[in-house]
């Protein structure tokens, strides 16, 4: 890879965003392992967590290569603090009940599907390849989460109420997915990245269609929308995730595991 300094630093940042979204969401989903509502869901959720963490390894390892300082995916996952994490606030939200987890997953999966599809056309071949591989997994994730949104939205009164609440609580974290910034724009110019603003209408038509079918109400304009996670702004929850996740390598910096 021959990249000028600016592109190198932009790309490193961009890859962290991609990697961190999947690492943090994978972490959250993995918390379900052993606690699912049925055994089949324990298996499905572990699968999704495995895929997401696998994808994050690919993005973070490429980030390390782009940076050129010899940092591995583990260095990046375990030795950055919250300010340097670039994941969406959506994915760090606590699991809540199964409905909350599924709505969070559904909102992210629809976004991830469009993003991975578009990234396949990236001028950066390594990135296009990772996206293409992830796309197959994301298709399955979206099918799984959509099915649950349908079942729960159009299931019982209780399940409808629960997922509607989840949707209302999470809606303020959705706008960020479609925010762009200079880092991204410079990479878009080079044909490497996808313009996040371009994904919005596709996401809305996909998401609205399933929500309607699930008899759920699409939340209206919110009084507050989260913003800035791509620059390292987060909710209170990320710190606890990192405290858990990073504990061992931080407590024993000389150890190999």
């Amino acid at each position: 890879m021959k990249l000028d300094k600016q592109t190198q630093s932009d790309l490193f940042d961009y890859l962290l965003r991609l990697g961190d979204d999947r690492l943090i969401l994978g972490h959250r989903v993995s918390e379900w392992c052993g606690h699912g509502p049925i055994l089949e869901e324990d298996i499905a959720l572990s699968n999704i967590a495995l895929d997401l963490i696998g994808q994050s390894i690919n993005f973070l390892s490429l980030a390390g290569k782009v940076e050129g300082q010899g940092r591995t995916e583990d260095d990046l996952a375990y030795h950055r603090d919250a300010l340097d994490f670039k994941n969406l606030m959506l994915v760090e939200q606590p699991n809540g009940d199964f409905g909350f987890t599924m709505v969070r997953q559904f909102l992210f999966d629809a976004y991830s599907l469009l993003l991975m599809e578009a990234l396949q056309a990236s001028e950066l071949k390594e990135l296009a390849a990772i996206a293409g591989k992830a796309l197959k997994e994301v298709r399955y994730h979206l099918r799984h989460s959509s099915q649950w949104v349908l079942r729960l939205g159009d299931g019982t009164e209780e399940s409808h109420r629960r997922v509607q609440n989840a949707l209302d609580d999470l809606w303020m974290y959705t706008r960020e997915m479609f925010e762009s910034d200079e880092v991204e724009q410079r990479l878009v110019q080079k044909g490497i990245a996808v313009d996040s603003t371009s994904l919005k209408s596709g996401w809305e038509s996909m998401v609205f269609q399933i929500l309607k079918q699930a008899t759920l109400e699409i939340p209206g304009e919110q009084g507050y929308y989260s913003s800035g996670s791509r620059q390292g702004i987060h909710t209170e929850h990320l710190g606890y995730i990192l405290a858990d996740m990073q504990f061992l390598p931080r407590a024993y910096p000389d150890a190999k595991w």
């Binding site: 572990s46 699968n47 495995l50 390894i57 390598p249 150890a255 595991w257």
Partner: protein, 313 residues
């Protein structure tokens, strides 16, 4: 009289090494014993997800995290597969799960011990999956077809688990002083409970005779335990770990590693519900089940509305 003849035929088939299949005639005792064993085994896989699941979010590298997640996922698959094997005997999964949640069914005692450090993840893979393999390799020869086939399939995965566990152990055993301390401590805590996994002495095992005669089992608890010790002691020594048993010694004549007496009081106490984590494990399983109730109901309601067969009803 009819039954007596059938029983003779049944036992003759077993003597010839034939497999018994779900539609074949079998004595009620045989069916009962198998349901008991297979469901206990299924419950153990499911409860076993808890102590190891405890370390998924804290795995010390992304690769180790993937491996552990995949392992715990395998255990869920084993549970599912074994519940299906039990269902071939005319019970359903729901009924078996109720029995577990009501405290009427047993699961392996080993999962009533806590996982305190990352080393426990390595040691569980090595010792607990290792002990399971010794037991399951024997059960793969079981006379009941579906159980035997389940065991063959499951054993392949348990071998992976064991290898991965031992790799963690070996890595830590040659690591920093803190890592060495952690891994030896984990061996000290898990060694005796692992030996207890094979059950009471043959003389105290009320079901053994019948199970052996019908080739549900083909080896006794003590034979299997000895085999496990013989396999494991050299593995411990190879990475410089000490087995916490002052009586352990090699007998060159028999080729056996002779070991000290198990604390049977502890064994029976934990089986009866008074181990360090019995209550906690059951609480976690009940919580997952209760909190999943509205989800299962919704899936059933949705399926009914849309004229589909629900896989979760």
């Amino acid at each position: 009289m009819e039954d007596k003849k059938r029983l003779e035929e049944f036992e003759a088939r077993i003597q010839r090494g034939e497999k018994i299949e779900p539609k074949d005639w079998m004595p009620e005792r045989y069916r009962k014993q198998l349901i008991r064993m297979i469901s206990q085994h299924a419950h153990s896989e499911v409860v076993g997800m808890l102590p190891e699941g405890n370390w998924i979010t804290r795995a010390p590298s992304l690769r180790r995290k993937l491996v552990l997640l995949a392992k715990v996922q395998d255990e869920a698959g084993h549970g599912l597969y074994l519940y299906s094997a039990a269902e071939t005997l005319g019970v359903d999964r729901q009924e078996l799960i109720e029995q577990l949640l009501e405290g009427k069914a047993k699961y392996s005692n080993i999962f009533n011990y806590p996982t305190l450090t990352w080393a426990d993840i390595g040691v569980i893979g090595w010792l607990v999956d290792g002990a399971a393999i010794v037991n399951q390799t024997m059960l793969a020869k079981s006379s009941y077809g579906p159980y035997s086939r389940a065991m063959i399939r499951i054993c392949k995965e348990e071998n992976f688990h064991k290898r991965q566990g031992y790799e963690i152990v070996a890595t830590m055993a040659k690591g920093t002083p803190e890592q060495k301390k952690m891994v030896q401590d984990a061996v000290n805590r898990w060694w005796w409970p692992s030996l207890m996994m094979f059950g009471p002495h043959d003389t105290d095992s009320p079901n053994s005779g019948e199970l052996l005669r019908w080739k549900v089992k083909t080896k006794t608890n003590d034979e299997l335990r000895q085999r496990f010790v013989n396999l494991t002691v050299p593995q411990a020594h190879a990475v410089g770990l000490t087995i916490p048993d002052p009586d352990l010694k090699y007998n060159p004549e028999t080729g056996n590693w002779e070991f000290g007496e198990i604390d049977w009081d502890e064994f029976w106490r934990v089986i009866k519900g008074d181990g360090p984590c019995n209550r906690e494990r059951m609480r976690a399983r009940r919580k997952a089940h209760e909190e999943g109730a509205w989800v299962r109901e919704a899936a059933a309601a949705y399926a009914a509305k849309h004229g589909m067969k629900s896989r979760v009803a």
